[in-house]
C-alpha cells in the first residue's frame, strides 16, 4: 500500500476539482470567504474518509443493483450524525456548517470516490484515498476563497488586510469577486496554470 501516493496524488495530478472537475457546485457556494471554505473542506474530508472506509468494509456484501442507494444512505447517515454531534458539542462550528450540510451529501467527489475506489479496494487504502481527495478538494477551495475574499472584501478570515490608506487613494474592493461566477473564473485560471506547467495533463483533441 503506497500511503504517500494515495494522499499526494489527489493534491495535484488527480485533483478532484481541477482534473476530474467534480465538486464544482459547492466550490462556487462556499468560497466567498476563507472561513466557510476551511470548514467545508474539513467536513468533506472527514465525510469522504469515513464513507470510503465504511463502503469498503461493506463492499463484498452490497448487491450491485442497489449499490448507489446504499452509498447514498451511508453518506447521508454519516452527515446527519456528524451534524447532530456538532449541534450538541460544538455549537459554533455547527452554525458555520448549517448551510453546507446538504451540500456535503450531494458532493460528487464523495460518490465518485466510493464508485471509483472504495468498491474495489481495502478499507484502510480507501480511507487514505478519501483523505487525499478531501485534502485536494480543500486545497482548491482555500486557494479560490483566498483570492475571492482578498480582492472582494479586502479581508482574510475576517481580518482587514488591504490597508485603509489604499482606500483613501481610491482603491475599491472588486464586488464581482464576491459573486459566484468569479469562483468559476478563478478555478479556470488554476486549471490553466496547472496544465500549462504540466503539458502531459492536457487532453489531446483530434488533429485537423
Amino acid at each position: 500500500m503506497n500511503v504517500k501516493k494515495l494522499i499526494v496524488e489527489p493534491l495535484h495530478k488527480t485533483n478532484p476539482v481541477t482534473v476530474l472537475v467534480l465538486g464544482i457546485c459547492s466550490c462556487l457556494a462556499v468560497t466567498a470567504q476563507l472561513k466557510p471554505a476551511l470548514v467545508m473542506g474539513a467536513s468533506v474530508t472527514v465525510v469522504t474518509m469515513l464513507s470510503n472506509f465504511i463502503i469498503s468494509l461493506l463492499r463484498k456484501g452490497i448487491p450491485n443493483r442497489i449499490r448507489i442507494i446504499v452509498q447514498l444512505v451511508v453518506v447521508a447517515t454519516l452527515v446527519i450524525l456528524i451534524d447532530q454531534f456538532l449541534k450538541a458539542f460544538a455549537y459554533e462550528v455547527s452554525k458555520q456548517l448549517s448551510v453546507y450540510v446538504g451540500l456535503i451529501i450531494t458532493n460528487c467527489i464523495i460518490m465518485g470516490r466510493l464508485e471509483a475506489f472504495a468498491l474495489s479496494h481495502g478499507p484502510w487504502e480507501s480511507a487514505l484515498d478519501g483523505l487525499g481527495n478531501g485534502l485536494g478538494y480543500s486545497l482548491i477551495l482555500v486557494i479560490v476563497a483566498f483570492f475571492r475574499e482578498l480582492l472582494g472584501s479586502g479581508t482574510l478570515l475576517g481580518y482587514q488586510i488591504v490597508p485603509q490608506s489604499f482606500y483613501e487613494l481610491g482603491y475599491l474592493n472588486n464586488g464581482l469577486m464576491i459573486l459566484p461566477p468569479m469562483a468559476l473564473v478563478v478555478v479556470g485560471v488554476i486549471i490553466w496554470i496547472q496544465r500549462t506547467r504540466h503539458p502531459e495533463m492536457q487532453e489531446t483533441t483530434h488533429k485537423h
Binding site: A32, P63, N64, R65, Q84, E149
Partner: protein
Amino acid sequence: MKRDINSRDYIFMYSTVLIVVVAVLLTVAALWLQPYQQRNKDNERCVNILKAAGIPDVNTENAQQLFEQHCKASLLLNEKGEVSTEGSFPLYVIDNLTTVIPMQGNGLWGPIWGYIAIGPDGNTVVDANFSHKSETPGLGGEITTEKFQRQFRGCPFRKNNCYSPIEVDAITGATKTSKGVEEMINKTLLLYLPYFEKR
C-alpha cells in the same frame, strides 16, 4: 453455502436490514443528543437577548445566570398590545425598562430572526442583532456582523406619536436579504406598537 448477492431475496433482505440499522442509529443519536442541543439553543437565545439590551461580557457560559439576574419580566402580549397570559407575542424587560422583542422573517434562502431592544422612552431602538439559517456568506450572511447591526443603534421609530418605518440600506449583492431584514423589523414593531403607545 454461498449466497448470491444479486438475487432478489438478498436485495430485499439487505435493504431492510440497512434501513432498520440506520433508523435505530439516527433515533438513538437524536434522543441522546437532544438535551445538549436544547441547552445550546437556550444559551444562544439568552446571549442574544442580553446583547441586544446592551449587557456587556455575555458569553454562552454565563448566559443563563446573567439572564436570571437581569431579566425583570418576561411577558406575553395579545393582539391589542395588552399583557395577557394567553397572548402570543413575547417580550422581555431587562434592567432599566429596556424591552427586548424577538423577531422572525424571511431572507433570500431561508428564515432569518433576531432580537431588537427598545429604550425606556419607547421611541428608539437601543440595539438589534440578527441570525440566519442559510444566507450566502459574504453577502446576506453579513447581517450577523457587528458592522451591520450597530447601524440600528439609536434609530427612532416613533416621531410625534406616529410610526416612522425603519429603513435599511441594502448590503451590496444582498438586496433580498436586506429587504427581508427591513420587513421583519417593521412588521414586528407595528405588532408591538400598541404596547408602547399605552406605556
